[in-house]
C-alpha cells in the first residue's frame, strides 16, 4: 500500500529586501525535497532568491464565515489614518 506524500505551502522571496509571498503548493516527502521541488516548480525563471516551505497541515486559517465579526472592530476607527486629522492648508513636512 502506497503512502501519500504530504502537501506543502510554498513561499518565495522574489528579491532581497522583499517579503516572502505565498505562491502555491506542492507534494514532497519532506521539507528538503519540498524546497528542491519548489525550486523546479516555482523558480524556473529566476522568480526567487529564497524559499520557505510549510507543511499545509500546520497552517491555521481564519474562517471566512467569521470574517465580519473578526474584522468589524477596525471598521469605525478612521482616526487610525493620518487623513482623519484636520491641519491648515500649506503646512509642510507633516
Amino acid at each position: 500500500m502506497e503512502k501519500n506524500t504530504p502537501l506543502w505551502e510554498i513561499f518565495i522571496r522574489s528579491r532581497q529586501g522583499l517579503d516572502h509571498k505565498h505562491v502555491g503548493s506542492l507534494h514532497a516527502a519532506d521539507a528538503q525535497m519540498a524546497i528542491e521541488n519548489a525550486r523546479d516548480v516555482y523558480t524556473r525563471r529566476q522568480e526567487g532568491v529564497s524559499i520557505w516551505v510549510v507543511e499545509s497541515k500546520y497552517i491555521t486559517a481564519s474562517d471566512p464565515d467569521d470574517s465580519d465579526p473578526l474584522f468589524e472592530p477596525a471598521k469605525d476607527k478612521v482616526y487610525r489614518h493620518p487623513t482623519f486629522y484636520d491641519l491648515p492648508e500649506g503646512i509642510k513636512h507633516i
Binding site: E2, K3, T5, S25, L26, D30, V41, R44, D63
Partner: protein, 314 residues
C-alpha cells in the same frame, strides 16, 4: 433549505460583484464539481501534452532548438502541477485525480491524441495548439475561483515563449528548402482543424457553458474565442507565406470564415478512438507505475531522517 437559498444568493452576489471565491468560502456543490472537472482536465492536458513533444527532444535539429523544447516540456510539467494544486484546494486528492486519469474516467484535451510525425509539428504545436490554448487561458485568468485564476496568470506568462518558439520554427522552415516549406505547410494543414476544435463544441451544442458563464468561470463563448483565434492566425500565416486550409475573408462579417468542422470525428477522438489515445494513456500509466519505487524510497528516506533527528541523545 431557506438557509441554503440564502447562501446561494450571497454566493451569486459575490460573483456578480467580481469578488473572487476562495477555497474555504461557501460554494454550491455544482460549482465545486464543475471546477474540479475543468481544472483537473486542464492539468491532465498539460501532463499528457508533454508526450507528443517529448517525442522530438532527442531529434531536435540543433542545440538551440533542443534546449528550448526541453524547457517547454518542463514548463508543461510545471503547469500541470500548478493546476493539480488548484484542484486540490477544492477537496479532491492528488491520488484521486491521477487515478481518474489513468482509469480513463477523466478526460484531457483531444489535441494530444494526434501524433507528431515531423519536426514541423513541433513548430505548429507551439504556434497553433499553444496559440489556441492561450486564447482560452487569457480568459481564464479572470475566472471567479481564486486559485484557478492565479494558476492561469502564472501559466499565461510562461506560455508566451512556447507560442513564439513555435512560430520561429515554422518561420525558419518557411525560408528553407522546398522540402522544408512543404513539410511546414503539410503540418499546418494537418493540425489546423483539430486546433480549432480545441475551443469545444459550437455554442448551440455546448452543454456546460451556461452555468460556467453565470458563475464567471468562463467569460466568452467557444465560438467567440474560436473566431478570434482564426482572425489572428489568418494574419500571422501571411508572415510564413503559407495558407490555412479553407480560411477565407468574409467582407460582410468582417471576419475570416473557416469552413466546416467535423464534430463527429471530434467526439470519436474524445471517446478514445483518436490515433494515439491508447498510447498516451499507456505512457502515463507506465510512468506512474514505474515511478512508484521512487515515491516509496523518498518517503522511506524522509522517515529515516525524521527518526534520526528525533532520536534521544545517547
Amino acid at each position: 433549505m431557506s438557509q441554503n437559498i440564502d447562501f446561494q444568493t450571497r454566493f451569486q452576489a459575490k460573483i456578480d460583484a467580481e469578488i473572487k471565491i476562495e477555497p474555504k468560502d461557501w460554494m454550491p456543490e455544482a460549482y465545486r464539481k464543475t471546477l474540479i472537472r475543468q481544472i483537473s482536465q486542464h492539468a491532465h492536458s498539460e501532463i499528457v501534452g508533454m508526450l507528443p513533444e517529448g517525442n522530438w527532444i532527442t531529434r531536435a535539429p540543433s542545440l538551440r532548438r533542443k534546449v528550448a523544447l526541453l524547457a517547454k516540456v518542463q514548463d508543461e510539467a510545471g503547469h500541470g502541477l500548478y493546476l493539480y494544486s488548484a484542484a486540490e484546494t477544492l477537496g479532491v486528492s492528488r491520488e484521486q485525480l491521477l487515478d481518474d486519469l489513468h482509469s480513463g474516467k477523466a478526460k484531457y484535451s483531444s489535441i494530444f491524441n494526434y501524433p507528431t510525425l515531423t519536426w514541423a509539428d513541433i513548430g505548429t504545436i507551439g504556434w497553433l495548439v499553444d496559440g489556441a490554448a492561450i486564447m482560452n487561458q487569457v480568459m481564464l485568468c479572470r475566472a471567479s475561483y481564486g486559485p484557478y485564476a492565479r494558476a492561469m496568470v502564472r501559466i499565461c506568462k510562461e506560455e508566451s515563449f512556447h507560442h513564439r518558439q513555435g512560430f520561429e520554427i515554422l518561420l525558419t522552415l518557411s525560408k528553407g528548402s522546398e522540402a522544408q516549406r512543404k513539410m511546414a505547410q503539410e503540418s499546418i494543414n494537418r493540425w489546423w482543424k483539430p486546433a480549432l476544435m480545441m475551443f469545444g463544441p459550437p455554442d448551440s451544442e455546448s452543454t456546460n457553458s451556461e452555468m460556467s458563464t453565470k458563475w464567471k468561470i468562463k467569460r466568452e463563448s467557444n465560438d467567440e474565442l474560436r473566431q478570434r483565434f482564426v482572425d489572428v492566425a489568418a494574419e500571422q500565416v501571411t508572415f510564413l507565406n503559407m495558407t490555412l486550409p479553407d480560411v477565407v475573408w468574409n467582407e460582410e462579417r468582417g471576419h475570416f470564415d473557416f469552413g466546416e468542422l467535423d464534430w463527429e470525428h471530434f467526439w470519436s477522438v474524445v471517446k478514445g478512438n483518436g490515433p494515439c489515445n491508447k498510447q498516451r494513456l499507456a505512457a502515463r500509466v507506465k510512468a506512474h507505475e514505474e515511478g512508484a519505487w521512487v515515491r516509496e524510497a523518498a518517503l522511506a528516506y524522509a522517515e529515516k531522517r525524521k527518526n534520526r533527528t528525533e532520536a534521544p541523545p545517547q
